[in-house]
């Protein structure tokens, strides 16, 4: 088993397969259907024993860094035009890379306007294990 991150981006990644209006332009029912799909996806993962975590991120944030001893940290941003913007994630614990790809494919089919799949690109990344397997 290995843990994978299914990363949802507001922006960034390959060119969208299908262009959709932003979510605030959808009908309330379309928004509800989308949100319900996300909940159902998590519930289904829990039922199959593959769920670890899901979180959403606020789009606004700032960059912060150390600025030397005794000085307050420097903040920069928010950067509205940042190319890549992370929206949130699912963390899954699955048997194989193929299973992670299969689940990402299902998540990508979340409904948008008219109830049609949005074909969203999802970034799939494996977590590094905490301990190495015992081989010498």
């Amino acid at each position: 088993m290995a843990k994978y991150l299914l990363l949802k981006h507001y922006r960034g990644g390959p060119a969208p397969a299908v262009e959709w209006a932003p979510m605030d332009q959808w009908t309330p029912d379309e928004v509800d259907a989308h949100v319900q799909f996300m909940r159902d996806f998590a519930a289904r993962l829990e039922e199959t024993g593959e769920f670890v975590d899901t979180q959403a991120l606020a789009p606004d944030g700032a960059f912060v860094r150390y600025d030397g001893e005794g000085r307050p940290p420097v903040t920069d941003g928010p950067f509205v035009e940042t190319k890549d913007l992370i929206a949130g994630w699912y963390i899954i614990d699955v048997e194989s890379w193929d299973r992670a790809v299969q689940l990402a494919g299902e998540l990508s089919a979340a409904p948008g306007p008219g109830g049609k799949p949005i074909y969203e690109w999802l970034e799939v990344r494996q977590f590094l294990a905490d301990s190495p397997t015992v081989t010498e």
């Binding site: 088993m1 843990k3 993962l45 829990e46 039922e47 199959t48 024993g49 593959e50 769920f51 670890v52 975590d53 614990d93 048997e95 590094l128 294990a129 905490d130 301990s131 190495p132 397997t133 015992v134 081989t135 010498e136």
Partner: protein, 381 residues
């Protein structure tokens, strides 16, 4: 109260309930409930006969649950009057449980989870913590696994090989959280070895104990890895190593070699060397040849190439490595090591850095990065 000793009793108690007519899933739940009560009550009021106590309490839990279930479905309670103790059965319940929990119809992760609960007696929460997933997820994984094996007859003969693979998976998970899975795998393998007379069970037990005996030397206090050549061998548990060698030799003497015996033989040769230089690499290569013959595993071939590099020189090792698929895990790390041995630090540093980028675990990545940094610093000075 000694919790592992208490947990030793779990598979036998489940077996008694199943023979009295409970189905496996319900029996397993009832025994878990009884364990909770034991953990609570025994420190103040330890029973004379722990196993008998567990059987009585677990059977009562089972009846309560069955009754609640039946009344939910508005059916007559019929099960109550029917405890049919069945001693004198030829099959060993504990062994049967190992087979059931490692049944080939289960995925490896399900078999691991079910084995740790039904044979190991760990709670769902403990298993979830060890595998870093939410308790609800692990609960689902276990109940799905129970459904998968619900049609398997309890007394069907099983395959020791599948059980061993499950135990080795548990062992390789190491230890995170408050459950030491490596120690748990060893406990379960010891229990299995006491129930069977199978040379591969002895082989796996010896292999795990040999690794375990060297555990204190394998990582520094900060968690970073210490390569075998740099380990402080005075930290090895030589008494345990001697015990393993006895177990292994008794198994090997029966002349039914298997992959775990071969791996244990390699581990024993490492453990036998007082210094890294004294390692008998020629014999280790011979054992890798056996292992490759037995398993045809690419990982065994890769490890064999590294051993060839030690026995016949790094060029020979690189030649053996060149015959293997470069996409194999740790191929690049092995190449880096052999190039360094071949006094080519420039190539070695580049390959260590490349290997770090594809390392499957954090300690390995950090170790490989450190190796690259060490060589690059040497090259600069």
């Amino acid at each position: 109260m000694n919790e592992p000793l208490l947990r030793d009793l779990v598979p036998a108690v489940i077996g008694v309930l199943v023979r009295r007519g409970a189905d496996f899933a319900a029996a397993e739940d009832a025994v878990q409930d009884a364990l909770v009560e034991a953990v609570r009550g025994w420190p103040d009021d330890p029973p004379q006969d722990p196993k008998g106590w567990l059987v009585i309490v677990a059977w009562r839990k089972f009846l309560d649950a069955a009754r609640a279930d039946t009344s939910r479905r508005h059916r007559e309670v019929r099960i109550e009057g029917a405890p049919m103790p069945g001693p004198g059965e030829a099959v060993d319940d504990t062994l049967q449980l190992y087979f059931l929990c490692a049944h080939p119809s289960l995925t490896p992760a399900s078999a691991v989870a079910l084995t740790l609960r039904a044979v190991g007696g760990l709670t769902t929460r403990q298993i979830a913590q060890a595998y870093l997933v939410p308790e609800a997820t692990m609960a689902q994984r276990i109940s799905r696994a129970k459904r998968t094996v619900s049609g398997v007859r309890f007394n069907q003969p099983g395959d020791v090989a599948t059980v061993l693979r499950v135990l080795y998976l548990v062992f390789n998970e190491g230890y995170s959280g408050d459950v030491d899975l490596a120690a748990e795998a060893i406990r379960l393998a010891r229990q299995l070895a006491a129930k069977t007379n199978h040379e591969e069970v002895a082989g796996l037990l010896a292999l795990m104990l040999l690794h375990h005996a060297r555990r204190p030397a394998r990582t520094r206090t900060d968690g970073s890895l210490v390569p075998l050549t740099e380990q402080d061998r005075s930290l090895w548990d030589t008494r345990l190593i001697a015990e393993c060698v006895d177990v292994l030799q008794a198994a090997l003497a029966r002349d039914r070699l298997g992959e775990f015996q071969a791996q244990a033989a390699i581990a024993a040769l490492h453990a036998d060397a007082h210094t890294a230089e004294e390692t008998d690499w020629v014999q280790i290569v011979e054992w890798y040849d056996e292992l490759v013959r037995l398993t045809n595993s690419p990982v065994a071939r890769l490890n064999r190439a590294v051993a060839v590099g030690e026995a016949d020189g790094p060029r020979a090792g690189l030649a053996a490595l060149a015959e293997l698929d470069p996409a194999l895990p740790r191929h690049t790390a092995a190449a880096a090591y052999l190039h360094e041995r071949d006094r080519d630090p420039v190539t070695a540093a580049r390959l260590y850095a490349e290997a770090a980028r594809s390392a499957p675990s954090l300690p390995e990545r950090d170790h490989l990065t450190r190796q690259a940094a060490r060589l690059n610093a040497q090259l600069r000075s």
